[in-house]
């Protein structure tokens, strides 16, 4: 952050000055684009927020769970007989939705299983030993390394060099972005529409699940007070597993939506920066707070693109990080405050 402040005047003097006009003239287009990215951030952010709410743990490896989801949905399409060709498949609207749905389920299964597996293998032994928070975080970093490098080096060996490796996967395209209607001057494509609607539906469903079901009540109880919740007959271990499962499945769904938007993004380190940003989104809205994650995700997606218009494309990630630092400085618990238990309102 300091470096950005110091570089401010330098930037103005050396490279192009701030381009406010670009923001004004493309305002609606940027907003629509920002909302699509924002909904993906929001879905991933829910995974961070739920785990944090229940365990007070930054699940650093969640970005890799998302990355595995991208591969999961890709493999599902592959198994359905699609081959990565340069062209877009055209199956008509009904079948395309069916295939996309199957791919989403594939991504959700892989991500959900990976998240639960990670919890079993890495975090549960530590919980049994009552390890301090730092130990959990370092384990998460280690797990993040392992999952990335697994896809980077081991997966190509297992799949006959068809999956993983150094380069991004050749995209399998099912949908071409075509303009459906206009908002202001902005073109809204079918892909944008699918992403935003799907993300909102999933976010709403998760919100209902946490706030209106028995399982959700268990999660909220553990988040509020693990000891009392255990005394009341809530199984803490089961709640933790459920939390990882929901977070993982949402990350898997987000992964498919992301590949619709960025078909060339299926790569071993493709989740890393997105994961950090989704975490920023969760913190922005108030970590541990489900609705905060949604709000933070959308806000971050939109602000990032506004920033990109003003400062230039290469400053997009910088804008996201600076926004995080600024929000934390002035509102350390995020916009909506941090609490899963009390967020039901």
């Amino acid at each position: 952050m300091s470096a950005v402040l110091a570089a401010g005047p330098v930037l103005a003097a050396v490279s192009s000055p701030f381009d406010i006009n670009a923001l004004v003239s493309n305002f609606w287009a940027l907003t629509v684009d920002g909302l699509t990215y924002g909904s993906i951030y929001a879905l991933v952010a829910v995974g961070y927020t739920l785990v944090y709410g229940v365990l007070r743990l930054i699940n650093f490896a969640h970005s890799e769970i998302f990355m595995l989801g991208m591969f999961g949905s890709y493999v599902t399409l592959w198994l359905l007989g699609f081959a990565p060709s340069g062209n877009t498949y055209d199956y008509g609207i009904g079948q395309t939705i069916l295939f996309l749905g199957l791919a989403t389920i594939g991504g959700m299964v892989v991500s959900g299983a990976a998240a639960v597996g990670l919890e079993r293998v890495a975090y549960r032994p530590l919980r049994r030993r009552g390890a301090p928070a730092l130990v959990f975080l370092i384990t998460a970093i280690g797990a993040s390394f392992v999952l990335q490098e697994f896809v980077h080096f081991v997966l190509p060996h297992l799949s006959g060099n068809n999956l993983g490796g150094l380069n991004a996967q050749q995209p399998i395209r099912l949908v071409d972005p075509t303009v459906q209607f206009h908002i202001g001057s902005a073109e809204v494509t079918n892909v944008d529409l699918v992403i935003v609607v799907a993300a909102l539906v999933l976010a709403f469903a998760t919100d209902r699940f946490i706030n209106a079901t028995k399982f959700g009540r268990g999660i909220r109880a553990v988040a509020q007070d693990p000891v009392t919740a255990t005394l009341m007959g809530v199984s803490r271990e089961r709640v933790i597993m459920l939390t990882f499962l929901i977070g993982g499945m949402l990350a898997g769904a987000a992964a498919l939506l992301y590949t619709l938007r960025v078909p060339n993004g299926i790569i071993y380190n493709g989740g890393f920066i997105l994961g950090i940003k989704a975490f920023c989104a969760a913190v922005l809205g108030g970590i541990g707070n489900l609705r905060g994650a949604l709000l933070g995700g959308l806000l971050l997606g939109v602000m990032e693109l506004y920033g990109q218009a003003v400062f230039g494309t290469e400053w997009r990630d910088v804008v996201a990080f600076v926004l995080l630092v600024l929000v934390l400085m002035f509102r350390p618990t995020g916009i909506l405050g941090e609490s899963l238990g009390r967020a039901r309102a």
Partner: protein, 416 residues
């Protein structure tokens, strides 16, 4: 009857591993004997790239260069250990300080930089040496600027904010094309042009001096080793002072420390700034040695690697983290270019490439079975004098051997 009472009242003999015995033996030695063993040991360590023992020497890369890199990482690990190990602040963006140190030297001395000061007030021959203190100063200030708003945050937030900081520094280096050269980086950075000869026209520190064993890597290794000794003395003295005691208190329980009157924010900031300046020093060394800086060197993943060195070595143990740095740097290079090990054919390059996979697995297993690291720090009697401490240690050793006599036992009781 009497024997039973004795066994009941005497404290149970503590279980001591090999490391504990070694440590106890070392700790009970008088100061001159410690120097007597330490100095020749250090000389031997320094001479490793000259001796080039066949067991140790790397195949794929020059051993001297590997050792120079190790020394640089060791310096980084010592600096990061102050932040993570001593004060217990998780800094995931430490690479940012490393980058700032390297880029400061680069910007001041590279002909690609618009702020090149060579031949204005930085002479060509000694430009690097003069740029180093400036680099340390600027990284210290950047540590102060980053630390003052963020150190008020809770632990996990700090981790993410520092991660963002590390990434921002790299992105700045990548994006400010007009100043940092963007992805092309800055080349021809100054280095000390000393001891020039007919065989080595650009001096012993130049990257052009590549004939082993007396190559540039060796000389940089020696410079770095000297700086490590200085840094160790500096950090060691700090740890034994009021500052160090405050860090330990903050690490163990920040609220309790605050209540006891420790100005926690001030001392956390100190840890951050001292850690940052050591990182900056290491970055300056890197810039001088490689004579080229580019943004890719300063990936966040490297930050994690530095953290690996500290965690594997043992947080809070400044000698342990040096071993950690050695493992991190040496092991991948050991396998690089090797086609067989102990007669078993292996693909060394593959193994070297998998380093993040192995380090990740190592971190995970270490956290489950030995979360304190390979060489864990022992809490010393910081407040009491050295003599008291030694008496306590001797008692522990005697207890373990079963030769305890009542007097040191009492001293040991005081140690607890």
């Amino acid at each position: 009857m009497t024997t039973t009472t004795a066994t009941v009242t005497a404290p149970a003999a503590p279980h001591l591993g090999v490391g504990d015995r070694l440590r106890l033996w070392w700790d009970t030695l008088p100061r001159p004997a410690q120097w007597g063993i330490g100095v020749p040991g250090l000389v031997l360590l320094a001479l490793l790239p000259v001796l080039r023992l066949p067991v140790l020497t790397t195949v794929g890369t020059d051993f001297g260069t590997v050792m120079a890199q190790f020394a640089m990482y060791a310096l980084l690990a010592i600096g990061l250990n102050v932040v993570v190990g001593s004060a217990g602040l998780l800094d995931l963006g430490y690479v940012g300080f490393y980058a700032i140190g390297a880029y400061t030297v680069g910007l001041l001395t590279s002909p690609d930089s618009p702020w090149n000061q060579t031949d204005t007030w930085l002479p060509k021959q000694w430009g690097w040496l003069l740029a180093v203190p400036i680099a340390i100063l600027i990284t210290a200030v950047s540590g102060l600027i980053l630390g003052s708003p963020t150190l008020r945050l809770r632990g996990d937030y700090l981790a993410i904010v520092t991660l963002g900081f590390g990434e921002i520094v790299r992105l700045l280096a990548d994006n400010l094309d007009n100043i940092t050269g963007g992805g092309r980086g800055l080349s021809q950075i100054a280095y000390p042009q000393v001891a020039t000869s007919a065989a080595r026209p650009t001096g012993i520190f130049s990257a052009g001096n590549a004939t082993p064993p007396w190559n540039a890597g060796l000389w940089w290794y020696w410079v770095s080793l000297a700086l490590i000794v200085v840094a160790l003395l500096f950090v060691g003295n700090l740890e034994r002072s009021r500052v160090g005691r405050a860090w330990v208190a903050i690490r163990e329980d920040e609220d309790a420390a605050e209540i006891m009157g420790v100005p926690t924010f001030k001392f956390k900031l100190w840890a951050f700034v001292i850690g940052a300046s050591i990182g900056g020093l290491s970055g300056a060394l890197y810039a001088g040695q490689v004579q080229f800086v580019a943004p890719t060197t300063f990936n966040v993943i490297n930050s994690m690697l530095f953290l690996c060195a500290v965690i594997v070595g043992g947080q809070g143990n400044k000698l342990g983290v040096i071993v950690g740095a050695f493992i991190i740097v040496y092991l991948p290079n050991f396998f690089l270019g090797r086609t067989s090990l102990l007669g078993i054919p292996i693909n060394g390059n593959d193994i070297a490439n998998y380093k993040y996979l192995f380090f990740g697995l190592a971190l995970m297993t270490l956290m489950i079975f030995r979360p304190q690291g390979l060489f864990p720090a022992r809490q010393k009697l910081l407040a009491l004098g050295r003599g008291m401490y030694q008496a306590a240690r001797r008692a522990t050793l005697a207890l373990a051997d079963g030769t305890a006599d009542p007097a040191p036992e009492r001293a040991e009781g005081g140690a607890r």
